[in-house]
């Protein structure tokens, strides 16, 4: 079953700006889906239309086979939204925010309270349950928005840049949490500017630019299109002044760091063999740039060239 099906969606704002130019997109139930694009590409408008925050100009949106125009209440009941900006009442207590949100979805207080308690504990907000939301730190506010989106047990969770401005430790704990709820059956759609996040979490991906979907495929196929990768190698001992690495395009960054470009058909084993033969010992290695980042930039550049 499709968790989301968008057909020929367009949105023209009152000022004439055409934010969406007839996009079509399907997300299967259980998927962890990335919707990527540069700023102003149309990601938030797309999410706004799905969640009824933005009125579409034309096209159709179905959530679990329910058309948002024909039965918006049912369609809305499937969705949990974590928006980009903080949008809760800062003067309300954390727990009240969750219980109220559950109430709007028809969950009575005797069910909402234990559910809110469960989420507050899972997301590390239990100690702050009676605190006014405005007094929370930025990371806690992000977690509160995730808890609020999940309080009514949605089948489709939409996260619009949920880790923006969040430190790396918290970001990684949020990834783990999202992976867990995805494994438990919740379909997740994620927009993010951290492409490492999308690469780590998502199985399928769509890239939108200037209101048009420029790529829609599975993550593996997309990454396979990379024909070369650049690695940074940290070396145990300094390189000699006359160091060269034949057959490889490489560059010495400093005496203990080497940058090597590898084609897809060149195995890492061959590189390490060559280095070993020269007595070079590698202590660690990393990609110079995130793989998805390279593809993303290439696709967006391409779309700009064709527009």
């Amino acid at each position: 079953m499709k968790a989301l099906s968008i057909k020929n969606l367009t949105k023209v704002y009152n000022n004439g700006f055409e934010a969406l130019k007839g996009i079509s997109l399907d997300v299967q139930q259980g998927d962890f889906f990335a919707l990527l694009g540069p700023n102003g590409a149309g990601k938030s408008t797309t999410i706004g239309v799905i969640t009824s925050l933005v009125t579409k100009s034309s096209g159709s949106v179905q959530v679990f086979d329910t058309d948002i125009d024909l039965d918006s209440e049912t369609a809305k009941s499937y969705i949990g939204l974590v928006p980009q900006e903080f949008n809760f009442n800062g003067f309300e207590q954390v727990k009240h925010i969750l219980i109220s949100q559950a109430g709007y979805y028809g969950m009575p207080a005797n069910e909402a309270e234990p559910r809110a308690d469960e989420l507050l504990k899972q997301l590390g907000l239990w100690d702050k349950r009676n605190t006014a939301a405005r007094a929370l730190s930025g990371g806690m506010k992000r977690r509160l928005m995730i808890a609020r989106a999940l309080v009514h047990k949605p089948q489709l969770l939409i996260l619009d840049e949920p880790t923006a401005g969040v430190d790396i430790e918290l970001r990684r704990s949020m990834w783990l949490f999202l992976k867990t709820i995805n494994e438990q059956g919740t379909t997740i759609i994620l927009t993010t500017h951290y492409l490492e996040e999308a690469e780590n979490l998502c199985r399928n991906i769509a890239i939108i630019d200037k209101g048009v979907i420029v790529e829609n495929t599975d993550m593996k196929s997309l990454l396979n299109r990379l024909d070369k990768e650049t690695f940074i190698l940290d070396l145990k001992y300094p390189l000699s002044h006359d160091f060269t690495l034949s057959n490889y395009n490489c560059q010495k960054i400093d005496t203990n760091t080497l940058e090597v470009e590898l084609k897809r058909d060149e195995g890492l084993n061959n590189l390490f063999t060559t280095l070993s033969q020269q007595g070079i010992e590698v202590t660690s290695m990393k990609n110079k740039a995130n793989r998805l980042e390279e593809l993303f930039l290439a696709l967006v550049d391409k779309s700009e060239a064709t527009l």
């Binding site: 704002y13 925050l53 009125t55 209440e73 969705i79 809760f88 109430g103 979805y105 028809g106």
Partner: protein, 259 residues
């Protein structure tokens, strides 16, 4: 399986209890000022000046103005509660919590209006208690008294809602109360009987809906009114239906809340 009706009931009570929690949490801004202001009205207009005015409509002046002062506080508070709460929800974007949820627009309207009505009635009760320190009040027609204060609170809560929909700044939710609501209230027979006015101004006063509310409420409490009570009920009901329909139309259209 929860029925749609049960879900709607939960959503409505959630919204209403959130609204009540809000005005109780900020009671120094919502409940205390009307009690102090109305005490001053009773002291100055009732005791100090009222003693020199003598009787009006067969009652002491303070008795005559008490129903109008109670109604004035109900109207102002019902209006400002919804106007400020709904506008704040727009301003802080937490109106989105309701828009993304399966809450039909008529329930959003009903929840906010019920919240405003609750504050109007609570403030009305507080002011009534305050008035008992200054004068003796008895209720002649309990049904008319209660239904009129209830309908008036609903009507002005609807007015506050429409104001908040159109408002784009906090200034715009104070313009209507300052420049329209307050003059209408003062000219709506709170402090005088319109029989004191020249005939032309009596006719002009009949265009003011607050005149009907104040007089019907006064009739409920004192048994005296400048206008027919049936006409007052009919006018207020028509106004409620008109404003509710318009507010719902604006919500369905997404005016001020959706792109």
């Amino acid at each position: 399986m929860t029925t749609k009706l049960a879900r709607h009931r939960v959503a409505f009570t959630t919204l209403l209890s959130r609204e009540i929690r809000r005005f109780i949490r900020i009671w120094p801004q919502t409940l205390l000022p009307p009690a102090i202001t109305m005490t001053l009205y009773f002291v100055i207009f009732g005791n100090l000046i009222g003693g020199r005015i003598g009787e009006m409509g067969g009652f002491s002046y303070i008795q005559y103005i008490a129903p109008g002062i109670i109604m004035m506080s109900v109207i102002n508070n019902a209006y400002s509660n919804v106007a400020s709460s709904f506008f704040s929800a727009k301003f802080q974007n937490h109106i989105e919590e309701l828009i993304v949820a399966p809450v039909p627009n008529y329930l959003i309207l009903a929840g906010y209006v019920a919240g405003g009505t609750a504050r109007g009635l609570l403030v009305g009760l507080i002011v009534t208690i305050v008035s008992l320190f200054f004068t003796h009040l008895s209720i002649q027609h309990i049904f008319i008294t209660i239904s009129m204060v209830f309908l008036s609170a609903i009507l002005f809560a609807l007015g506050g809602f429409i104001n908040a929909i159109y408002a784009r700044s906090f200034d715009e939710i104070s313009i209507i109360p300052t420049f329209i609501l307050t003059p209408m209230t003062y000219l709506g027979g709170v402090f005088y009987s319109i029989s004191l006015l020249p005939e032309f101004w009596q006719k002009v006063s009949l265009l003011n809906p607050i005149l009907y509310m104040v007089n019907a409420f006064r009739y409920g409490m004192l048994g005296a009114s400048d206008i027919a009570v049936e006409v007052a009920f009919a006018i207020i009901l028509v106004c409620i239906v008109s404003l509710a329909s318009f507010a719902l139309y604006l919500l369905n259209k997404g005016t001020g809340i959706r792109n």
